[in-house]
Amino acid sequence: MAEEVKHPLKKVLMICAKGSLEDVLATLVMANGAVMEGIETKVFFTFFGLDAITKKRMNKLHTATVGNPAMRMPGGLAFPTWLGSIPGVEAGVSAMMKKQIDDLDIPGVAEFLEMIDAGGGEIYACKLAMDMFKLERKDLADEVIDVLTIGEFYEKADGLQTQIIFT
C-alpha cells in the first residue's frame, strides 16, 4: 500500500464575529496556537467580535450568564437563568472566569493580541462592522494591520494548504 502523503496546514484564516469573553479567547488561543506552530495566521474581527480589538472594550469582555445553558455554578450545579439577570452577577462571573484563565497562564485579550503580533500573526478589522458600530481606525488596538472588506480578506486565502475557520 502506498504511504499516505500528508499536507500540513500552511496558512490559516480565522473570522471572529462574537464578542463574549470565551468566544474571543477561543479565537485567540487558536490563532496564537497556529502562530506558535509556524503556520501563517490571519484573523478578521467582525460584528461584535470587534470588541476584542477595540481599545476601550477589549479588556472588559464578559461571559453571558443569561441564555447560556452550559453555565454552571462553582461545583457543577445548574446555574439558574434568573440568577444571571441580577445586576452584578455577570460581572462577578466574568471576573471569576478571568481569574481562572489567568491561573492557566492564558493572557488577557490585549496581551494575547500582542503575542500574536509578536509572532508574526496578522490582525484585521471588518470595514462593514466598523461603519455599523461607528468606529474609527484610532479606536482600534495598535496591532490591527488594516481595515478590510470581506472580499479583501478572502483574497488573502490564496495558496495551497489554507483553511478558513469561523468561530
Binding site: 496556537g33 492557566l104 497562564d105 509572532g119
Partner: protein, 103 residues
C-alpha cells in the same frame, strides 16, 4: 522511541525527536541537534534553553508567555531566535519533553 548519537553520546528520543531523559542533555549535544536543523546556537539561545530546563525540571508548565516574562527575551525575540515553531524547537534543543501547553 529510539536512540541517536549526538556529540559522541547516545541519546534516547521519543517518536517526535524529544529527549526522554533530560539528564542526557549537554551543550554540545544541543549544538549538534540545532545544526541538524540548520540553526546555530549563541549564548542567548543557551540562556533561553537554561531557563526552559529549569522551568520544566521544577514541574512548572511552559508557555510562550512565561518565556516572554523570563527577563531574558521578549516574545518577538524568541520567535526570531527559534524561527518557525519556537516553543517546539526550543524544548527540543533544551532536551526536555514536548510542551503540552496550548499557549
Amino acid at each position: 522511541m529510539g536512540q541517536k548519537e549526538y556529540a559522541g553520546k547516545m541519546v534516547d528520543l521519543d517518536d517526535n525527536g524529544y529527549f526522554t531523559n533530560s539528564s542526557q542533555w549537554s551543550k554540545e549535544i544541543a549544538m549538534e541537534l540545532a545544526k541538524e536543523n540548520g540553526d546555530e546556537l549563541t549564548e542567548k539561545h543557551f540562556e533561553v534553553l537554561e531557563f526552559i530546563r529549569n522551568k520544566v525540571n521544577e514541574g512548572a508548565s511552559l508557555t510562550i508567555r512565561s518565556i516572554g516574562k523570563s527577563g531574558i527575551i521578549d516574545i518577538k525575540g524568541f520567535y526570531k531566535l527559534f524561527p518557525g515553531a519556537p516553543l517546539k524547537k526550543a524544548t527540543k534543543y533544551a532536551g526536555v519533553s514536548k510542551p503540552s501547553s496550548c499557549v
